[in-house]
């Protein structure tokens, strides 16, 4: 026995309404998740507070706890935190050594304040490496060229202060700060010769010297077996 026509239409409309609502809901639920590994990283990290903030929180329940002790607890529990550099700036500045009077030329695109910062920092760094060396003003000149590359000219007299590869490496590493001053590169010349050429000659000399020290052990024709 079939339903009356008007009831059939109502049932059909109810079904259509139900399907329509369900389709909207399913579209919302099934919409693809575009999460990536990057999101994955960010989801897992708790909010990072400063060491100072944690210390204040810890001190609320333990008034005798020091910042150092707070630091050790955070480290022991793997809790990430941010340093507040201001806390360590008071009376903690290492005063730079006496700065040298160096010759600077600015042909690059650093502003005057930026170039002044460069001059100050470079003077401080160079003085720490070459303090005690007596040299004239012309023996170190520093020019920022139009490509923002720093050209450092120094005399053999000055360069000889760097007595070893280790000291040369230390000197070069002390100039890494230039990367945060928008300087694009560094070229060093010793009495007009590129540093690389000077060092290539030294390398060859060292190779021969080490072979000499090695002696017959390095020079004999070996019986492979």
């Amino acid at each position: 026995m079939s339903l009356p026509f008007h009831l059939s239409k109502k049932i059909i409309r109810i079904l259509e309404l139900t399907f329509g609502i369900c389709s909207i809901g399913l579209i919302v639920v099934l919409w693809p998740d575009a999460s990536s590994a990057r999101d994955h990283v960010q989801e897992q990290s708790p909010t990072v507070k400063s060491l100072h903030e944690y210390h204040k929180e810890f001190a609320a329940s333990n008034t005798s706890i020091t910042e150092q002790e707070t630091l050790q607890i955070l480290l022991a529990k793997g809790i990430p935190f941010e340093f507040n550099p201001k806390l360590y700036s008071e009376n903690s500045q290492i005063q730079p050594e006496q700065t040298f009077q160096l010759r600077f030329k600015n042909n690059g695109n650093l502003s005057e304040p930026e170039f002044n910062v460069l001059k100050m920092r470079l003077s401080s760094v160079l003085s720490s490496h070459f303090s005690g060396t007596v040299f004239s003003e012309e023996e170190i000149t520093i020019e920022l060229n139009s490509s923002n590359i720093l050209i450092m000219q120094m005399s053999t007299n000055v360069f000889s202060v760097l007595k070893s590869e280790e000291e040369l490496t230390d000197f070069s590493e002390s100039l890494h700060f230039l990367g945060s001053l928008n300087i694009r590169g560094l070229q060093i010349f010793i009495d007009g010769t590129p540093l690389g050429a000077i060092m290539q000659q030294k390398d060859r000399f060292n190779d021969l010297e080490m072979l000499r020290i090695c002696g017959t052990k390095c020079q004999q024709t070996h019986n492979a077996r």
Partner: protein, 930 residues
């Protein structure tokens, strides 16, 4: 405008619903357990769409005189578009079913390397493979498939395979004399961090605070992981500086104690051993024999280690034009026997800076294996190959050892890995052409690249960390942040073609490192562009290299933000992986997959064991897996290949403990192994236990100031989390002699619904040192446990930070339910963060048969007991274990609508196996299901 009727609107929505679901059906991946397809789909392009190269479109490189001022790059900074995608099916070895102990003489090998040439591998199949079985079937006791080639499956056919990469972790202890100071040792890059009024200066011994970072050691930590990734990709590595933390060492010299020969025609050479005058006698000579498969001869190096642990194996020898390339080596370790091959042939070098080629003192790394105290072990080298070449029987070294080369006339008394490259090269008995001198002082900087040149490596990578110099204090993030590269690039007068290789290698390494750190560590990781154009002569470490070479400065330890990263082991792994990917790019290789997750092992029907895991959704995909088995959770076999995400084992012996770890792999290499899971079959399955590993934390690094225990003996330095503690629990259950079956899984498997807590009579959930940052129990985990307990389950929880995390009165709770869960379900009231002792008193109440015991102080094989919680009973619990400090409760017991033990310390660090067995046995008896 005619309005659209309601009826038509509903028709449109219905149509849209149908079309949407049709599109979803076409895009969906088959479910992991589907019977349709079990082979992992071909990998995605490793050029992950989420990581864009930071350089503009590659420009044609030009000779220096035509350079413009834009940085020049080599083409293809991105990974190759069509890497090896699937393992060639005809090279997947059959599962061997041998009844006898495999012997290296069973297999013969030609002089030609057994690894496939790239053009021999099959092309990517047009259709995914369909397996009849839904799981890889493996008999539990069959002899494992021995690794072919350099202990990697033959499926690894990456261009990195066989490449020799020289690795240098920068700095290390050197002498002070040539700095004009008093003689003695000094670190090269100790760091100073000022905290309040205290200066944490690592140059003052015994004052290395937790937070002071020593670059000399951090470089070594990162290089350790880089070495692992490269080896897993099929590369060979040669170490400029010792990496192993294993301070114990056994040296087996030719014709000396522990050395024996068998077979004919072994001759003593006129030439001295590679270790003559260093570890061997001044007059030690090596032996040699020609290849002869029909009447093989062997040299056997037999030894016993004084203490159980992981030991690297190194083979020292002198190379030559007549040495063979494919020499069989068999390693008998606690996990069984591993077979591999070594190459003793001379590597050609055009340099005349090291004397005549040939007879160079070389060292090959054979792998790191677990050896048991006083248990016989051996390495056997054979001439079982067909060629007119010889094999040299020289010196085997087991372990990393202490530095026995004096610095400024004095021994350091410290482990070899803490010393500089100069010290290690002297130990390798290399002369001044390698272990360079500056005047009469050792010169470490150029020793590192000279070592790489001497070995004629295919590349030299040096790992460092950065600083902005001592005169820019106070240190702030603005002083310098991010990753930087250093490489040699000459000008008109000094340019060499090799400089372009330095640039290509350096920039690919750096930019892949940055991309990877942004993806997996910090999306804002900085690019420190200083150095991108190279340096001409400034850095001896790169200038002197005659092989493609670059120095990577991973992070700035003068940046407060990056200093934290440099104290975190997860960062070391992430950075190392990024560097490895860059090196792989340089050699035209793809990348190995990421580690598997959701590892679980459960009993299935017919007394079989079902081991399952999941692969990660991102990164290069795995096409097969290496499944390694152990019976003690420490010593693993060489592994067997599984081509699906699960492996079913049969022939299980009831009562036997089995442990597994899995590495994901593809043609480009293997991932690091997963955490270890364990299973024990029982005579019956009336009592089923599940061990859940909730110890994910990996941040703390080793404390380098604590190299020695209180008696002055050096200790083995362990990492923060070795993901190997589940076997300790399973072993304790086995030792209890109670008939419990044991399954195990990681906590993610429970969270993701892969393992149901309700299937078990007992849950043992351990969190180790997991704390607030990683959450001991997340809200989801709490809900799952609450449901389980509400149904009358039994629970043992163990961890040193559960109370501190869930109570977190000092810094707030991660979840609103934390405290409620702790007090109302774990029946524990947090009373204190640090019990302040390693000693526990004899048990009381239901644990009254438990004797006093102690916790590991960091010297006993697991990890250091730090900040163990102490509790007060609440909501019906009682104290059943106390620390040896008055009124500090270490463990609570509750018996009501469910049963529970809540331990405020990690069970796994209970000293002695007997102590753990006693504690576990008594807990199980109290929990016994009627």
């Amino acid at each position: 405008m005619k309005a659209i009727s309601t009826q038509k609107t509903l028709h449109i929505l219905l149509l849209g619903f149908i079309l949407f679901n049709f599109s979803q059906c076409n895009n969906s991946q088959p479910a992991p357990d589907s019977n349709i397809e079990q082979v992992v789909a071909p990998p995605q392009n490793p050029n992950d769409p989420g990581t864009l190269p930071l350089f503009p479109e590659p420009e044609q490189t030009q000779p220096p005189e035509e350079q413009d001022n834009e940085p020049e790059v080599s083409p293809e900074l991105t990974a190759p578009e069509n890497p090896e995608s699937t393992a060639p099916q005809d090279q997947i070895p059959e599962i061997e079913q041998e009844n006898t102990e495999p012997s290296i003489n069973d297999e013969t090998s030609s002089e030609e390397p057994s690894t496939p040439e790239p053009d021999e591998t099959s092309t990517e199949p047009e259709e995914p493979l369909i397996k009849e079985e839904s799981t890889t079937l493996l008999p539990i006791d069959a002899a494992p498939v021995a690794a072919r080639g350099a202990y990697l499956p033959a499926q690894v056919s990456s261009p990195l395979r066989g490449k020799l990469i020289a690795l240098g972790a920068g700095h290390g202890y050197r002498g002070r004399l040539h700095s004009g100071q008093n003689p003695g040792k000094t670190l090269q890059r100790p760091w100073v961090w000022r905290s309040g009024n205290k200066v944490l200066d690592s140059r003052k011994s015994n004052n290395i605070a937790d937070f002071a970072v020593v670059e000399d050691f951090i470089n070594s930590e990162i290089t350790h992981y880089l070495n692992e990734y490269l080896l897993n990709a099929g590369a060979k590595t040669t170490l400029v500086r010792e990496l192993s933390r294993q301070h114990r060492e056994i040296i087996l010299c030719p014709n000396a104690e522990g050395y024996s020969e068998s077979g004919p025609s072994v001759f003593e050479s006129q030439n001295l051993s590679a270790q003559a005058g260093v570890s061997c006698s001044n007059n030690a000579h090596y032996n040699f024999v020609y290849g002869n498969p029909s009447t093989p001869s062997t040299a056997r190096y037999s030894f016993q280690v004084p203490a159980s642990g992981m030991y690297p194996l190194y083979f020292h020898f002198r190379d030559g034009i007549d040495r063979a390339q494919n020499i069989p080596v068999s390693i008998q370790h606690a996990g069984g026997t591993t077979r591999t091959h070594i190459d003793q042939s001379m590597r050609s070098t055009s340099s005349d800076a090291y004397g005549f080629p040939g007879l160079r003192n070389r060292v090959l790394y054979l792998g790191t294996f677990f050896f048991k105290e006083n248990e016989p072990a051996a390495v056997t080298v054979s001439n079982n190959f067909t060629s007119d070449k010889i094999v040299v029987f020289d010196t085997l070294r087991v372990g990393g050892g202490m530095d026995l080369i004096p610095i400024d006339g004095q021994l350091t008394g410290l482990e070899k890995f803490k010393s500089s490259a100069f010290q290690y090269q002297k130990f390798l008995n290399r002369d001044a052409t390698v272990a360079r001198l500056s005047g009469s002082f050792n010169e470490d900087v150029t020793t590192r690249p000279h070592a790489a040149n001497y070995e004629a490596a295919d590349a030299f990578i040096s790992v460092h960390n950065n600083a902005t110099g001592q005169n820019v204090y106070p240190y702030t993030d603005s002083s310098g942040r991010g990753s930087m590269v250093i490489y040699q690039y000459g000008d008109e007068s000094t340019f060499k073609p090799l400089d372009k290789e330095h640039r290509d290698l350096g920039l690919k390494m750096k930019y892949r490192l940055i991309d990877h750190l942004r993806e997996y560590w910090d999306p804002d990781w900085r690019n420190f562009a200083w150095g991108d154009e190279g340096f001409n002569g400034n850095y001896g470490e790169t200038r002197v290299a005659q092989v493609p070479s670059a120095l990577i400065e991973v992070a700035f330890f003068t940046s407060p933000t990056e200093l934290l990263a440099l104290s975190n082991e997860k960062f070391y792994r992430t950075a190392a992986r990024g560097i490895y990917q860059g090196i792989a790019q340089y050699f035209g290789a793809g990348w190995s997959p990421l580690e598997v997750t959701n590892v679980r092992v459960t009993h299935s029907e017919n007394s079989e064991i079902r081991l399952e895991w999941d692969t990660q959704d991102f990164g290069p995909q795995a096409t097969y897996f290496l499944v390694q088995t152990s019976k003690d959770g420490l010593s693993f076999d060489s592994g067997r290949i599984a081509t699906t995400n699960s492996a079913t084992f049969w022939n299980v012996v009831p009562g036997t403990l089995y442990s597994f770890k899995i590495s994901a792999a593809n043609a480009h290499g293997m991932s690091l192994p997963s955490a270890v899971v364990s299973i024990k079959a029982a005579a019956s399955y009336d009592r089923r236990a599940l061990i859940v590993n909730g110890f994910d934390r990996l941040d703390s690094r080793v404390n380098f100031s604590s190299s020695f225990d209180r008696s002055g003996a050096p200790v083995t330095i362990k990492r923060g989390n070795e993901f190997s503690y589940t076997p300790i629990y399973a072993q304790a259950i086995a030792d209890s002699m109670l008939d419990w079956s044991v399954d195990s899984c990681d906590n993610e498997s429970v969270i993701d619904g892969k393992v149901e807590l309700q299937d078990y009579d007992l849950i043992i959930w351990y969190t180790g040192r997991e704390s607030w940052a990683d959450e001991t129990f997340s809200e989801q985990e709490q809900n799952l446990l609450q449901d389980y307990l509400a149904s009358g389950g039994n629970l043992i929880v163990s961890g040193s930070e559960i109370g501190w995390d869930l109570a977190s009165q000092q810094i707030g709770n991660r979840s609103a339910n934390d405290l409620f869960f702790l007090e109302n379900y774990l029946r524990s009231r947090y009373t204190g963060d640090d019990a302040g002792t390693n000693q526990l008193l004899p048990g009381i109440s239901v644990l009254n048969k438990v004797d006093a015991f102690s916790l590991d102080e960091g010297y006993s094989g697991t990890y250091q007991n730090q900040y163990p919680d102490y509790y007060s009973p609440v909501n019906g619990s009682v104290c059943v274990l106390e620390y040896a400090i008055a009124n500090r409760c270490a463990a609570l017991w509750y018996s009501g609508d469910y049963k529970l033990f809540s331990l405020g310390f990690p069970f796994e660090i209970v000293n002695s196996r007997a102590g753990r067995a006693s504690l576990m046995s008594n807990m199980l008896k109290a929990l016994e299901v009627n």
